[in-house]
Each structure stands twice: as C-alpha cells, then as structure tokens.
C-alpha cells in the first residue's frame, strides 16, 4: 500500500480546519514546524462556545473592576460562588440532560418541593439524618419518573418534565401552602459556617457545589457513562447501532438531574432557612440559560460542566453589577440575561452552520 501524504487528511470537506487557519499564514513553512505550530494553536471548534463564555466572564470582571470600587475584592468574588451554589448544582444536572439532547423543566419545582418537604419534616421533629437524605431523594425519585416517561412511554423530554414540574409544584401546596421556617440546628449550622483564608471564604453549600461539580466533571470525561452521554447527544441512532446502553444512560441522566435538583433544594433551604411552595419559580429557565451561556449546545453532544459553572458565574455577576450600580432596578437583570443568551444562541448557530 503506497504511503499517502500525511496532509491528505485535509483533502476531505473538513470544517474543523477553520479555527487553525490563522495558524498557517501565507507562505508555508517547513511541514514539521507547521504541524507543530498548528497542534499548539489548534483549538477544536467544540471548545469555541466555552471560550466565548470565558471571554464574557473576563470582560464582565474587567468592566466591573474598573467601574466600581471593591468589585474585585475576595469577599465579593467569594460571595459570587456562595450565593449561586444551588444554581451551580442545578446547572450541572441540567448540563447532562442537555448533552443528551433533552431538557429538564422540572428542576425549579423540585427545588421548592425538596425545601417544603424538608421544612415540614424538620417541623415534625425528624432528625437531620432523615430529613437531608429525603430532600435529595425526592428529587432523584422525580428524576426516575421523568426518565421513565421519556424512555418507556416515549414522551418528549419537554412534555415529560413539564408534567413532573406541575406534579412537584402541586405537591408543594399539598404539603404546605404557606412558608415553613426551618429552625433545626443542622440547617442553621450549615447556613452560618464559614471557612476561609484571609478574605476568601466558602460555606458548606459552596463546598457541596464544588464537590458536585468535580464529580460531574469526572463522570463526564473519565467514565463510560460520560462518553455514552456525548454519543447519545450527537446521534442517538448511531449510539444504538454501536450497541451503547442508550436507555440506561438516558434514564441515568434524568435521575442525575433530579438528584441535583434535590441537592439544590437543600442548598436553597439552607440559605433561606425556610421551605416555601412558591420558591424556584423560573429557576429552571435560569439554569438552562446558564448552561447555554456556558457553551453547551441545546441540540446535544457538545458542552462541558465547567462551562456551565462559568455560565452561572456570569449570570451571578450581572446581579452583582446591578447591585453595585445601585440605581438600576432588578428587572435589568432579566434584560441583560436575555441579551447575553441571545448572543450565545447566535454564536452557537454560527458554529453549527459552519460545521455542516
């Protein structure tokens, strides 16, 4: 078999070449050097949306830092993570679902249900060792329900999770229509503990969020489950032909998202010290926005949990900036989120179009 030139890889209609084009200017240097240079500067197109998220985040930090005093102080930045820890957890779960090409609209209602259920159980005198696991498990259970609807009854994820959303929200009102305060020592301790070095602080909630983020990263990139999630998102039919465990993996993804919502409900209850049926309305849309701004493509198959962390932090920064501005009303948050989301959707569209 004759040796074909190494560059014949470029012969095909390869869209992936575009990002490295600037690495190969005008005259062609020695091929070895060229290849090495390209390998060094080569940025796979799939990282592009995440790079966008990093750019946006850095830009916001720079603008905030120059406009306001103390904006870049360790305390403000620490609080950015602490205040949004429940959203980080939600976005992590949502990332898995969106990577398979699905969506989970139930998470906001699950946050409320988890909180209300926990609050009522604490009120009835159950110990924390029972209440905390139950708050997480109720999310997992609703995740199973959504997954079963998607897989067995073959309902669209949009509708299946919408049904779970209504179910969870309704259950909230059955358990407690009014706000139920949580006075348990465990929750108070979790809510008031601070660890830190100097001005950098972190709360138990922040630590939980980071641990979940780390576990999700590991799961997604170092296990067979994670690899299968990406394969399903790209092309479910191909994944089936290749003999991948599509059903089990998709079920797993909804259970994971539900469990994350349960944990987020716990974290939200810790920060508010109460359970309330009307909590978390619209939280699912914020989580989806964070995931999209973090560079995950809604049709599935492309994205990273670390990107979703960036997305959550970017949304949190908008809130922080508006607080610092002082004169702007809080509804400007929505307007900024909308604008950012729009820009990212356009960016994604451009990338998808260029790929095909």
């Amino acid at each position: 078999m004759p040796t074909e030139p190494l560059t014949s890889a470029d012969a095909g209609p390869s869209a992936g070449e575009a990002p490295s084009a600037d690495a190969a200017p005008g005259d062609r240097p020695r091929p070895g050097a060229l290849l090495r240079l390209r390998a060094l500067l080569h940025l796979d197109q799939q990282y592009l949306p995440v790079v966008g998220s990093v750019v946006v985040l850095v830009l916001m930090l720079v603008v905030g830092g120059t406009r306001y005093d103390n904006f870049l102080s360790p305390l403000v930045l620490s609080n950015l993570l602490i205040d949004n820890s429940y959203m980080v957890v939600l976005a992590v779960g949502m990332t898995f679902v969106i990577l398979t090409g699905g969506i989970d609209l139930s998470v906001g209602a699950v946050v409320a249900l988890s909180g209300v259920l926990g609050a009522r159980m604490f009120e009835s005198g159950y110990p924390a060792a029972v209440c905390l696991p139950v708050m997480v498990l109720v999310g997992a259970l609703l995740g199973v329900l959504a997954g079963v609807m998607v897989l067995v009854v073959e309902v669209e994820p949009f509708i299946a999770t919408l049904a779970v959303m209504f179910l969870a929200r309704g259950l909230c009102y059955v358990i407690a229509p009014e706000s139920v305060p949580i006075r348990a020592d465990a929750i108070t301790t979790l809510g008031t503990s601070r660890f830190g070095a100097g001005e950098w602080v972190i709360t138990p909630s922040g630590i939980i969020a980071l641990v979940i983020l780390g576990s999700a990263f590991f799961l997604l990139h170092y296990t067979r489950f994670g690899r299968t999630v990406y394969a399903i998102g790209e092309d479910e039919g191909s994944a089936r032909l290749m003999g991948l465990p599509v059903t089990v993996t998709k079920l797993g993804v909804y259970v994971l998202s539900g469990t994350c919502a349960g944990v987020a409900g716990l974290l939200f209850a810790i920060s508010t010290r109460a359970g309330y049926s009307r909590n978390g309305i619209g939280m699912e849309t914020t989580a989806i926005a964070a995931v999209v701004i973090g560079g995950t493509i809604l049709t599935g198959g492309s994205g990273y949990v670390l990107g979703s962390l960036l997305g959550v932090l970017a949304l949190g920064l908008i809130q922080t900036m508006i607080t610092f501005e002082g004169t702007l009303s809080s509804w400007w948050t929505s307007i900024f989120i909308g604008t950012l989301l729009f820009l990212f959707v356009v960016l994604q569209r451009v990338i998808v179009l260029r790929r095909t």
């Binding site: 078999m1 040796t3 074909e4 190494l6 560059t7 014949s8 890889a9 470029d10 012969a11 095909g12 209609p13 390869s14 869209a15 992936g16 070449e17 290849l35 796979d44 799939q46 590991f218 170092y222 296990t223 067979r224 690899r227 299968t228 990406y230 394969a231 998102g233 790209e234 092309d235 039919g237 191909s238 994944a239 032909l241 290749m242 003999g243 991948l244 465990p245 198959g301 492309s302 790929r355």
Partner: protein
C-alpha cells in the same frame, strides 16, 4: 491465514429462512464464508441482503436453517452474542459519533478501563496499532474529531472499529456507496487487507467494479433465494448481472421451472 484449498468455512449457513408476517424474505439460503477471503453478497433491492446480514449479526434471528460458526452450530439472537463470537458489522449509515475523536469512536461502548476510569493511553495505543496493522496512513491524528474526517476516512475508522476486537468475520454494508473514486480505492484496499490479515469479510455492494476488484467469492441473492455462490475468477460481470436480475445464468442459478414465487 487459511489455505484456499477446501478449508472449513468459518461461517456456514444452510437452508436459512426468514419471514416477516406473511412475507417470506429468505427461503432456503445457503452461504459459505471463508477466513482470509472476501465474499461479496450481491442482489437487487429487496433480494434479502440486509435481512441475511441482520440475521447473521443477531439483530433478528432466522426462522429456520442451520447457522454454523467455526465448525459448531450456534443460535445467534443478539448483537452482543454475535460480537462475542467475533462478528462485527459496519453499517451503511456509518455508526460513528461526529463529536468524538477517532479513539473514542473506535472504543465506544467497549472502552478500556482502569478500575472505573477510562484508560485513554491504552486505548490510544491500541487504536494506533490497529490502524497501523491495517496500513492506514491517511489520518493526521487519532485525536481529531470524526466530524473533521472525509467520507473515506470515516469508513476507515468504522472498519478499524470493527477489527479492533479480534474479530473473525467483518460484514461491510455498501462501504463505498457514498465515496468518490480515490476514497473508494482507499477503502477497497483496506477491505483486501482485512482478508489478507486472515479475517473473513462479507461485502455487500451494488457496484460490480468493486465486487470484481476485491471479491474471492460472489454470492447472488435473487428474491430471497441464493441463486448461486461462485468463485469470482470463474465468472464475468455479465453473468453476475444476469444472476442478479433473473436468478440464473446458463448452468448457474435457480432451476428454470421453479421461478421464485416469494
């Protein structure tokens, strides 16, 4: 590598039948596939080629007939079972995931693991070895995503995926259907190399050029029956086309009076 002179067939089908409801798709089909040879499976649309290979691959079991693999009779009822026997299928619509790289695709679903984590180094090493064993030199990197590959390269990766598992029989469903001239040449060379490496290959193709270029044996299905399985050196293109279109050609093929009623 096996000798041509009367080796025991690796895969031996006798009297295979398969119906879907009232429709009999395969009736009394015989097929011999030898290691180290390319067996072309040809036939018009609806002749039963896909049903036959899906049965071999365990996607749906045959109704009747014997299925002998490596000398012992087997009942293959699932793709997993076929895989464990050493049978791999490369489907026409190229089951590859665009967003993953070449190594990921080759190992998808059967990743090498160190405890629970994926062993990327071992997988990459084995992917490179396999591609080298197939004399594939057209890939710049095994870490590029499949979306950046040309049609021929994708087919190469799909075939490499199939031979990675010490497979004994590789079934290729129209591997050159969507390819240009140069890429077709590249894939046909690879098909030849598989046989040279001692694998049995079943090649489904509509393209007589491809068939005569690589096949040792040509099996012609006609309306769900095996019209003839002949040595590729003993027939010419016209006779094979005649077998495909009318089920017989001179002394070859189905007997005249019993025109297939299926």
């Amino acid at each position: 590598m096996s000798e041509r002179s009367h080796p025991e067939a690796l895969l031996r089908l006798r009297g295979i039948s398969k119906s879907f409801g009232a429709v009999q798709v395969l009736a009394g089909v015989d097929l011999d596939v030898h290691a180290g040879q390319v067996t072309a499976l040809v036939g018009d649309n609806g002749a039963g080629k896909s049903t036959l290979i899906k049965g071999i691959a365990g996607i749906h079991a045959f109704d009747d007939g014997t299925y002998t693999f490596e000398g012992s009779e087997v009942h293959v009822t699932s793709p997993k079972q076929a895989n464990s026997l050493g049978i791999e299928v490369v489907y026409q619509d190229l089951a590859l995931c665009d967003n993953l790289d070449v190594v990921h695709n080759m190992f998808l679903g059967r990743e090498t693991r160190r405890r629970i984590t994926l062993d990327e180094t071992a997988m990459e090493r084995r992917a490179v070895e396999t591609l080298r064993g197939l004399s594939v030199r057209t890939l710049a990197s095994v870490r590029q995503t499949v979306s950046s590959l040309s049609g021929g390269q994708r087919q190469t990766v799909a075939i490499a995926r199939a031979v990675l598992w010490n497979s004994k029989l590789v079934i290729l469903d129209e591997p050159t259907a969507a390819l240009g001239v140069a890429q077709t040449e590249q894939v046909l060379k690879l098909v030849r190399r598989l046989a040279h490496n001692g694998l049995a290959v079943i090649l489904i193709s509509h393209n007589m050029n491809d068939v005569f270029e690589v096949a040792d044996s040509i099996a012609t299905l006609y309306l769900g029956r095996m019209a003839a399985q002949v040595d590729a050196r003993t027939v010419n293109r016209a006779r094979v086309v005649e077998l495909i279109t009318s089920g017989r050609s001179g002394a070859l093929g189905l007997a005249a009076p019993e025109e297939a009623q299926a």
